[in-house]
Symmetry: D2
Subunit: 129 residues, 4 copies
């Protein structure tokens, strides 16, 4: 275990397993992305740049292995005049995150669920090997 993780570990309960930890780290990043990036001005043309920025900046959070951001372009405007843009909101945003701690990989996601009218965050799959 690397030196800095050994320092961090002292703050965690001894009952915390690799599985617990992998879930924990992935979930933090879900919450973080939503609350950091909603509000950003966005047009269709800016989608690739915003996608890359979310994936790369939030991908340095601890134990995040992969982030895939999807922004639903059909709700976005194609900049035609001064006021013709949107801001990023939860209903436009889909997230897939893979976190890993030790040998456990967790696949997490977020998508807007119409029946709940809510940007639901969820754990899709837990892989312990």
């Amino acid at each position: 275990m690397e030196k800095f993780e050994a320092i961090a570990k002292k703050y965690f309960g001894t009952e915390v397993s690799d599985r617990d930890r992998a879930i924990f780290e992935g979930a933090i990043t879900l919450g973080a992305i939503f609350h950091q990036f909603t509000g950003i001005p966005i047009t269709k043309e800016l989608v690739p740049l915003i996608k890359e920025t979310i994936e790369k900046t939030m991908g340095i959070q601890p134990f995040i292995k992969n982030i895939n951001v999807n922004i639903s372009e059909d709700t976005l405007r194609s900049y035609d005049h001064t006021y013709d843009y949107s801001v990023l909101t939860g209903d436009k945003l889909e997230l897939e995150i893979i976190s890993q701690y030790g040998d456990t990989q967790v696949h997490l996601g977020m998508k807007h669920v119409k029946e709940l009218d809510f940007p639901l965050m969820f754990i899709k799959k837990i892989e312990e090997s």
Copy 2:
């Protein structure tokens, strides 16, 4: 199980336990608080109001039982002139969160760890009954 939770459950893998879920929900809120509230203008006088606002607004996130926010006042200014205030940053902020799903309660926290120079988020305790 309430109707809306049944809808949400369909997005979660069947292997996801109550323990997994309680950790997941608490961790989302840790990430969310950090990225929503850092940046707010703050003085010593405003600490009680900001504390209450974080606790109550983020306390409505799913399966959050309790939030306790601590803002270290010794790093804050006491508004004396026009430019005499700070903005809330991670090193000024300590969080304690209790999340609960089914019978599992998880105690989570955040505090600035000097040795890491990092606002560390952690799982203090998992109580399954």
Copy 3:
């Protein structure tokens, strides 16, 4: 002029008038409120607390004399189940700000304009005396 404002003044062009400055300071706060507070979880019950928090925290920004926040409650949910809340977005938010520098008072506002489908920020009135 207070000591700290004298330091700040050195960064401003000499052609900047009190009127220019009052507009400048009020507009900063409009932009700041939108991008700091959108994303906060909100229900009808939480409106008074969130209103107070925005008004008081952003009211310490330089040369802001008054802020009045209006959150349109008809678009908000009244918390009935786990997923039954919204997050604050620009279309739910109306702002009135008065900034003052020297003897000039500026009345600024923000409201969602349907014809533009845009949270328009504007200068309502400039009072020089």
Copy 4:
């Protein structure tokens, strides 16, 4: 005047000049950038991407002609281990913005002023032609 600007104009007082308006629009963007982007995880390697994202997303705000973002790299970490990154804060960020309305161009800026220990926003120059 374009159709949508004519709609927007109705919300502005008739005494609002091009100069007033250009200052107003630039200042909104200063406040917006600070409160939208502080909190983003950052390392030296990510500076060009974050710079581009701020410049391009905030550059679509009304009447913004140019944005130049400078992030002071000497305070940033070069990612070496799990916890070895910073988040973007006001003291790491320098902004230059040019706004234009009609024939008036306004040069605005933000930088951390040590004597105030404050991320000061200012109007550098107003050019009416």
